[in-house]
Symmetry: C2
Subunit: 656 residues, 2 copies
Amino acid sequence: MITKKKNQLKDIQITSEFWNQYRELIVKEVLPYQWEVMNDSADISITHEPGGNEEHQEHSHAIQNLEIAAGLKEGAHNGYTFQDTDVYKWLEAAAYSLTYHPDKELRKITDRLIDLIAQAQEDDGYLVSFFQIEAPDRKFARLKQSHELYTMGHYIEAAVAYFEVTGNQKALSIAVKMADCMLKHFGPGADQIPGYDGHPEIELALARLYELTEESNYLDLAHFFIDQRGQDDFFDRQIAADGLDRDVIDGMRNFPLSYYQAAEPVRQQETAEGHAVRVVYLCAGMAQVARLTGDKSLLETCRRFWNNIVHQKMYITGGIGSTNIGESFTGNYDLPNDTMYGETCASVGMVFFAREMLKLETKGEYADVLEKQLFNGIISGISLDGTHFFYVNPLQADPDISAHNPSRNHVLTHRAEWFGCACCPSNVARLIASVDQYIYAVKEDVILSHQFISNQATFENGVTIQQESNFPWEGTINYKVENTSDESCILGIRIPQWSQKNARLSINGEMQDYQLNDGFIYLEAVPGTTSIELLLDMSIKKYQSNTNVVYNFGKVAIQRGPLVYCLEEADQEKSVWKYSLASDEPLDYRFESELLGGLGVIYAAAKTPEEEKEPSLYHEYIPKKWKDAKIKLIPYYAWANREEGNMAVWLDQEKN
Amino acid sequence: MITKKKNQLKDIQITSEFWNQYRELIVKEVLPYQWEVMNDSADISITHEPGGNEEHQEHSHAIQNLEIAAGLKEGAHNGYTFQDTDVYKWLEAAAYSLTYHPDKELRKITDRLIDLIAQAQEDDGYLVSFFQIEAPDRKFARLKQSHELYTMGHYIEAAVAYFEVTGNQKALSIAVKMADCMLKHFGPGADQIPGYDGHPEIELALARLYELTEESNYLDLAHFFIDQRGQDDFFDRQIAADGLDRDVIDGMRNFPLSYYQAAEPVRQQETAEGHAVRVVYLCAGMAQVARLTGDKSLLETCRRFWNNIVHQKMYITGGIGSTNIGESFTGNYDLPNDTMYGETCASVGMVFFAREMLKLETKGEYADVLEKQLFNGIISGISLDGTHFFYVNPLQADPDISAHNPSRNHVLTHRAEWFGCACCPSNVARLIASVDQYIYAVKEDVILSHQFISNQATFENGVTIQQESNFPWEGTINYKVENTSDESCILGIRIPQWSQKNARLSINGEMQDYQLNDGFIYLEAVPGTTSIELLLDMSIKKYQSNTNVVYNFGKVAIQRGPLVYCLEEADQEKSVWKYSLASDEPLDYRFESELLGGLGVIYAAAKTPEEEKEPSLYHEYIPKKWKDAKIKLIPYYAWANREEGNMAVWLDQEKN
C-alpha cells in the first residue's frame, strides 16, 4: 500500500524558454507529423538499418496493423513484431502534451485511438497485432525475439500516463486486462510460462501500473520477471518447441544470451553487457522494483550496473552502446567515436534509470547523468524542426566515410525522416513532453531540486517553488520558495559536478557558505518566502578522458554548463579534424540569436596547417606550417541541422 | 608467339640472409605443417571469421575432399567451395621450394598429389571437389559465388610452377584439360556461358598458362573474361536459373555487384571498389593480358586502378581493404587503423599486380610498392615460427578491444594456427618461396634490378650479377656484374623512394653522379667485370599521412629503409597509445641479434603522462604532467610473436 508523501509534487509548469521551445515543437510539429507517419499519410522516405534484416517497407503501417487486428480492415501485418509500440509511445507523448497544452482535437484523436486499441485487444487481454494477424498460434511461444511483453508494456506505460492526465478509464482498463493476461500466463505455476521477454520493458511498466493501481500482483510479476531472467535455458527451450527456423525477426536467434541480459541471473552480472537499450530499461525496472519492494540485493545490482555504465562505458554526451553490432555495450573504456551507436532510446532509458536511482538514493551523480542526457544525448536525437531523427548519435562523423565504409554507414550525418525500426522518434517525444517529471525528486522530508529547468511547482505540503533562469545559456538560478505551511521544509539543490569548484549561493540576498553533501546542498525553507540565488560556473571547460580510452588520448572536449560542444564543418573552412585547438588562448562564448533558433556558440583560437600541395598519400614528416585559425563550436545537440558535413566532439590540441 | 628475350633471367640464387631465413622456414616448417593440416593430422584449432557464415568445421578436409572426388573415399565435402585451392597454393609453394631446396621426399609427396588430382579430375577436365561431391548438376551454374574458375585457376598456376620446376607433364596436362574445359564452356558462342567467375583469378592463371604453352586460345579466354565482366546481369540470370535460395556460400548473394568488380565493365570503373583481393587479382590478370595483347585501354585501366589504390587506399604497410565487411575497399583516404582488414592475400595480390605493371612500364613506384609489400604487409602474415598466420593485418590493435568489440573482433592480436577460410597461409608461403621471381625485370635491352634481396643471377645474354648486402638492416648494396659477352648491357637499379634524397653510387670504386629516371638509374655494364656500390639512406624517417586521412592527422609513422616500425606493448611499460614521441630527440637504431630471431629495433625518446589517480571517466583538463620515457619500436612484420598486447604504427607526437 502506497501512501502519498505529504510533500509530493502536486503541479508543475515548465517556464524554461529552452525546454518550452522543444515542448511547443512536440505539440505543433512532432505529434502531428508522427501521427501522419503512423497513418501512412506522410510523404516520407524511411531509412533502414544498413545490413539489417528488416523488410524494407515504405510506410509505417503502425495504425493499420491495429485496424487489421481490430477487424476493421483486412490485410497482412507490416513491420516489426513490436510495430504497435510506435503508436503507444506516441500516445504517451500526446498524453503528456495535454498537461501543458490541452487540445480538444488531439484529445479526440487519442480517445478514438484508445477505442481502436480496445477493439484490437482480445478478450483475454492479449494485444500484439503481429501475432494476432500473422501467428495467432504462436503467442508467447518465442519470447527471445517476440517483443510481446515489451509491446504490451509500452501500452501499459502509455495508459498510465493517459489515465493520469485524462481520467480515461477505458485506457486504463485495457492496460489492466493486459497485465491480468500476463498474470495468468506467466509465473512459477504448473500451467504458466516460467520466462520473460527478450527485451526488458514490462518490468518498469508493471511497476508503474502498480504505483497507480496499488495492485501488488503487478509488482510481484515484475519482480518475477527480473528474478527469472538468465536462470536457465528458457529461451532455447521455447525456440526448440516453436521450431528452430521459424524466426520472427531474422538474424536475432544467434545473438548471444548476453545480448538479452540473460546469460546469467542479473544479480550475478558484474558488468553491463549486450543491447544497451535493453540494459537500461531493465535497470530502470530493477531500480523501481527495488524501491517498491525494498529488495536490497536488487539495489546493489542496480548500483553495479550504474557504476559500470557511467564510469566505464558512457560517452561524454551521455551516449551508450559502443557498437552498432547488436546495438551493444562493448568492453570497459572502449569508446570509439566513429563506429559507435549511442542510440537515442538508450539515452532515454538512461534517464529513466537515473530518475529511479535518484528516488532510491540522494546522490548528485544520478542527477548529473540525467542532466547530461537531457541536454546532449537525447535532444541530439531530434532535429530543430521536429521532423527528423537520429537513431545513432556519433561523436565523430563524416558523410563521405559513412557513405563508403560499411563499418561506419550506420552513422548518419543527416537526421532521417523515419526509420524501419522507428523506436527513437516517439521515445524522444515522450521524454521531452514529460521533462517536467525529471526536475524534482521528493524524499520523506526533503524536496530535491536536481535539474535547472525553470518551472513553477506546487507541492502537497503547501510549498511552491518558482525556479527562474536562462539555463543552459546562463548560470544564474533564482528560486522563490513560498512555504505556506507552518513547518519548515528541507530543500536540496544539486550543484552539478561541472560547477562544484565554483558555485555561489545567496539566500534572501546574503551570500552563504554551504556544504556539499553528495552533490547537494540542503537549505531550510522556513514558513514564508525564501529567495535563493545560485550562481553556477558557466566558464567554458575543457574535458579529457581517462587515459585508458585509446580513442581520446591527448584530445579534449569542450563543455559549458551541461552542454557538450562540437565542431561542425558548416562553421569552419575545412574539415574539422584539420584544426588543433590552441593551448592557451581563451575560449569565447557568445549567444547567437539568429543561429539555429538561437544558441550559445564558442569561438576558439586554433591552428591549422597551411594548405600545401600533398602529392602523395604518405610523405616524409616535416613539421607542419601551422597558421592561426578561428574555429566555432556549437552545442552537440544542434549539429546536423544544416548542410551535411563532418563533425567531431573530441579535438586535438596544438602540437609542437 | 613469345620469343625469349636474349637477356632473360636464366638462374637465380637468393643469398640474402633475411630472406633465406624465411625460405628455410618454408621448407622446414611451413610446408610440412600445412601438409599435415590439410591432411587433418595436425592437432590445431581453427579460427573462424567472427560473424561469418562458414560452418565451423574442426579440420581442413582439403585433401580428403579431393580423395572423395577421386573416388578413393566416401563422404561429404567439407569446407568452402574453393577448399581445393589450399592444396594448390601449397603445391605451388612446394614447387618453388624445390628450386632452392631439392627434396626427394617432398617431391614424392607432390608427385603423388598430382596423381590424386588427376584421379579427381573429370574426363572433360572439370575439377572442383565441392561441386563434384555435393552438386554435380550445378557446375558453372552459379559463378557469382561458386569460385569454380578461381579454384581451377589456382591449380593452373600451381601446375605451371610445378611443371617448370620438375617437368612433370601430368601436372601440366591436368591444367591444360582444365583450360580446355573452360574453352568449351565459356565464350560468346550460342552454347557457351557468356560469363566469368565472381572471384577473379582465372585471368592471370590462363595468361600464365599461355606464357608457358603459347596456346593463344588461353590468352583469348582470359581477355574474354575481362571484357565480359560487368557487361550485363549475367550473375543475376544465373542465380535466377539456379534457384534464388540455393546459395553455395551463405550471405554472399546480397553483396553488391561492386563487391565482385562487376557493377560495370572494368574499363569504365574509375576507382577500385569491393573485395580487395578480387580487385588486385583482377588487376594482375588485366596487366598481364594488356602486356601480352598490347591492349592499350586495358593498360590505361590498370594504371587507373593502380593510382587509386596506391595514392588513396593503401596503408603505409602496404595493407589494402579498409573494412572487414566484404573484405573491401572503402572511400578515398578512408584508412582506419583499427577496424581495417589489410588481408595478407591482398598484399600478395598487390605484389602480382606490381610485378606485372613493372613488366609493362619502367616506373620505380611499382617496385617501391612491391618492396613495401614484401617487407611489411606480406611477411606480417606469418609468424616467425612459420606455423601461425594473420588473415587481417591491422595498424592498431588491442586484445581487450578485439575481445569485446564486434566491430573490431576480426582483428586478431595473435596469429592463428589455421582459418576456416584458409586462403592466406598458403598464399604467403608461395610468395616467399618464389621471392626470387620479384627481384629483376627484364626489358628489351635492360636488366632492371628493382629489389634489394641479395642474390646471384645469370642471364641468357651471358651476364651474371651478384648482389650482396645485409639489407634491410644495412643499406650498402654491392653489385658485381660479370658481362661475359662482347656487348655492353644496360643495368637499371632502382633507388627507392625513401632513399631518393640521399643515395650514393660508386662504380669500380669511383663515386658517380647519376640521374634518376622515374626511380631508376641506368648504368652500362661493359664486357668484363663492373663493381657497383650503392649506399642507400638508412636513416630513420618519420612519415605522415595526407591531411585527408582523418585517422592519422597529427601522427607519424616510423620507417627505416623499407621497414615500417610499430610500437608493441611487449616492449613498453604501458599501453602503446600512452606514449607521445618526443619531437626533436634523435631516434636510435640497433640490431638486436637475440630478439625475435635477430632484428633491427629503434629506440626513441617519448613522453608519457605521470601515473595519476583517475577517478572518473571524464575530468576537467589539466595539462598532463609528462615524464620522459624510452620507447622501443620493432619492425611491423615482427609484431605478435610474443605475449599478446596492444600495438600501433601511427604514433602521437609530443604536445605542448
